[in-house]
């Protein structure tokens, strides 16, 4: 469908925009002289909707600088290709008119196409340069800058100015959304809304990682960082997400939906902000955003707790944006791993990996596809880890794919102590990019030096060591399993001899194994992701009777019902088709049957069963 749209877009572009007077757009630049006198167009938090009134140029120098700026900008403006100019104008029109369909097309295909064509290695023109095309519409410029910085972060290397400015821009955007008088009359496609939140968190994460690399900073950067320690602070990021949730009353909304309230009641509950889809979806995506931020900061229980009203099934709103869907399951699964709830994690990964396999054919739009595939790969690694720690026979399909990809590590992981490097490798590959909440002490040069001399452990190493301690505790389990599988009852001393271990140690290892086979898992009626009951996850069970070990193994009987039913229905379908198809025409003319007889001679036997009345009569 997007193919079709692309064509329409391309075909009609010239005709559609005939009526937009490009000359007028460029010509008005001259009128904007007043705005550009000595002041750069404001991009700071406060002057969102105020247009500076006529500023008189007082000093000649200021005028000169302004004129120089104008010339630079005009040059930059002239170098923008016409296609891009038209696109920007069209985009702006669509945003002004709240034409959701047009915005979606422009956002999803137009922007990406033009990036590929003109700006694959450079930045898009700055917002100030294209400002005249959109009549200095500040709202649109904020949105434009959002896209501009997203491009910089993904394709190019952002420098410290870019990082600071992108933060300011995000603040402006959220300020506009949250602190205007009443809800704003803007409509944006859901994909974009998710991308805003996603990108915001990504830039935060990127900044935190960059911030901890103290040694490579220039003096100027050090100074800027020392002064600006509110920029990209954890509290402000969390503040944004929580504010969006509170403004849109999304939690109350979800609860009301679950209780089956009517639309009027819901509208009353959520207030004027919550009824608008823009705020509702932003609130919803902020919940997922909080899940992600808490996981990055290492607080896994809180991450699952904020999701307590969101149901993990195919009907939830987050499935409407694929990237959001995949991200949610990834973080939920990862949190379960750190909470040692491996069966829950496996269940989450299996469902999302199946989903990705099914929808792969529909989503080949380049940038999203790559991202989703990368996340899917990491989830296969996490699935392999979980399976090694808590073997279950849930989904052979996924397990086979995981084996293809990580077969080497999987074999190593089931070998106990030697497998620990394999666990480490997969964990580091697949875990989220953890961040630390606090910046290095840039304000204080002494402390900073101490920090450089003796840097603290990186968050990822910390979490890795915690995870490995859990793994190490379960190291004796696979060997024990393989021995216990062979017996129904066994003396403890004998088992100790087989394992070449001290009996007491072995008994302790068996207790570990028993505990490993019991874990908390969500059951059908449980609400919320933190709930659960203890279930048994292993098919091998044992009990120690003073010194005798009794073993019982559960097996799964052969499953034939599904296969049987499917094939029966298939046979029925074939039968129905044959029965209802028209019979071949009766051959009335006898002489004509002679050559007809010769032809079907080989399949004669088969033909005899079907009533070819004509031949028989002859």
């Amino acid at each position: 469908m997007s193919q079709q749209r692309k064509a329409i877009w391309e075909a009609d572009l010239d005709e559609e925009l005939q009526d937009v007077d490009l000359n007028l757009a460029i010509g008005s630049y001259g009128q904007n002289d007043l705005y550009n006198d000595g002041t750069r167009p404001a991009s700071l938090a406060n002057d969102v909707l105020n247009r500076p009134s006529t500023v008189q140029s007082r000093i000649d120098e200021a005028t000169l600088v302004a004129v120089q700026q104008q010339m630079a900008q005009q040059a930059a403006f002239a170098s923008i290709p016409d296609v891009v100019k038209r696109f920007i104008v069209h985009f702006h029109q669509a945003v002004l008119e709240n034409n959701l369909a047009e915005i979606t097309v422009a956002y999803e295909s137009g922007w990406n196409r033009l990036t590929e064509k003109f700006y694959a290695k450079t930045e898009w023109p700055e917002a100030e340069v294209i400002a005249p095309l959109v009549n200095d519409d500040q709202i649109f410029l904020i949105l434009y800058r959002e896209l501009y910085y997203r491009h910089v972060y993904s394709r190019l290397q952002p420098d410290i100015d870019d990082r600071f400015h992108s933060y300011e821009n995000s603040c402006e955007l959220f300020n506009y959304l949250l602190n205007s008088d009443g809800p704003v009359p803007l409509q944006l496609p859901e994909q974009w809304l998710w991308d805003i939140i996603d990108e915001f968190i990504y830039q935060f994460q990127s900044f935190c990682t960059w911030r901890t690399k103290v040694k490579s900073k220039t003096d100027e950067e050090l100074q800027l960082l020392g002064e600006g320690n509110q920029v990209w602070s954890s509290y402000s990021v969390l503040n944004v997400l929580y504010s969006l949730i509170q403004k849109s009353k999304i939690n109350e909304h979800i609860l009301a939906l679950q209780e089956g309230k009517s639309t009027e009641e819901i509208a009353e509950i959520v207030g004027e902000y919550g009824v608008r889809p823009l705020y509702r979806m932003l609130g919803y995506f902020s919940i997922i955003g909080l899940l992600r931020v808490h996981s990055l900061l290492g607080d896994f229980t809180l991450a699952l707790k904020v999701m307590e009203n969101v149901e993990l099934n195919q009907k939830s709103p987050f499935t409407r944006v694929t990237a959001c869907h995949v991200t949610t399951y990834y973080y939920v699964g990862f949190c379960y791993i750190m909470l040692r709830r491996y069966s829950d994690a496996i269940r989450a990964f299996v469902s999302i990996l199946n989903f990705i396999l099914r929808m792969r054919q529909y989503h080949t739009r380049s940038y999203q596809y790559d991202q989703i595939n990368k996340t899917a790969d990491r989830m296969y690694a996490l699935f392999a880890i979980c399976n090694a720690l808590s073997p279950s026979r849930l989904d052979d399909n996924i397990f086979n794919t995981a084996k293809e990809r990580f077969g080497e590590q999987i074999t190593k992981m089931s070998r106990g102590e030697e497998g620990i490097p394999a666990f480490e490798e997969l964990f580091i590959y697949a875990c989220p990019k953890f961040i630390s909440a606090n910046p290095p002490p840039y304000e204080d040069p002494e402390l900073l030096q101490a920090y450089i001399d003796d840097p603290p452990v990186e968050p990822i190493q910390r979490h890795l060591s915690l995870f490995l301690s859990e793994v190490r505790a379960q190291v004796p389990v696979p060997t024990l399993r393989s021995f216990l599988k062979l017996y129904t009852s066994l003396d403890a001393k004998k088992l100790a001899n087989f394992l070449d271990a001290d009996e007491e140690e072995m008994v302790q290892q068996m207790m570990v194994m028993k505990q490993a086979s019991r874990s908390i898992s969500r059951v059908e009626n449980g609400k919320g992701l933190l709930d659960g009951q203890t279930i048994s996850t292993s098919d091998l069970d044992f009990v120690i009777d003073d010194n005798m070990v009794h073993i019982a193994e559960s097996t799964v009987g052969r499953r034939y019902a599904g296969w049987f039913i499917r094939n029966t229905e298939h046979a029925q379908r074939v039968y129905d088709t044959i029965k209802s198809s028209p019979l071949p025409p009766r051959k009335v003319n006898v002489t004509q049957t002679q050559p007809a007889q010769a032809a079907p001679a080989p399949p004669r036997n088969a033909g005899a069963k079907v009533a070819w009345g004509g031949i028989k009569v002859a």
Partner: protein, 243 residues
Amino acid sequence: MVSASEWAAPPTRTELIENLVSGVDRYNPNNVGILEDYLYHQIRSQEYDCLANLAILKLYQFNPDLYNPDVVINILIKALTAYPFPDFNLCISLLDERPFPANPDEPDPLPSLLPVLTSLYNLLQQCRFPAFWALYRSDKAESLRDNYTVECVGFEDSVREVVIRAVTPAFKRIGTDRLSTYLDLSGDDLTAYIEKLGWSLDAESGVATLPLNPDNQIVSTVVQENIQLPQLTKIIAHTQTVA
């Protein structure tokens, strides 16, 4: 075993704490006092509330100047007794990189005690109970014992509960010698403890019998397929339509 919903919301939690833990106020540094008081309440009355303690650690994560090593050590001690829940590791996840020394006069006891606590936890993870008691009673843990666990009411009993939680599913009958090494009790203390648990003790052969529970009764099961009638409706209905 305690179900997860109790772990997430213990019945001993008051409404005030519940609002703090579930709402946005948990980020307010002024509320750290309330949560710390709640922690001391837990210590004194042998209760435990994991999420509230994690909230304290989160506040410390964002406001390093609030950092109070005694509180952290107490939280970790409490988390030790929650095994097999992964609380101890969750707490350590939230302990960010070394916080900047606010007070050079009072030395920070955490860095020296943390390895001891971690080893104790690892021993519990690996169910090495005799080694646990040995380490706990040794000199290395002396500072821990004298300053912290002595304040925590029923710490040793809580650890014994952890041991029992590990022993119950795995054993049908267990020798008293073995049990005494696990529990660090002997003679009359042991007998009294076993009776309190409700297990029956056979004094002559020195074997304690555990009550039957879902975990230590093993049955070899064959998971049979359960074909439901609705699955077959289509096939059966078809036979009706075919004349």
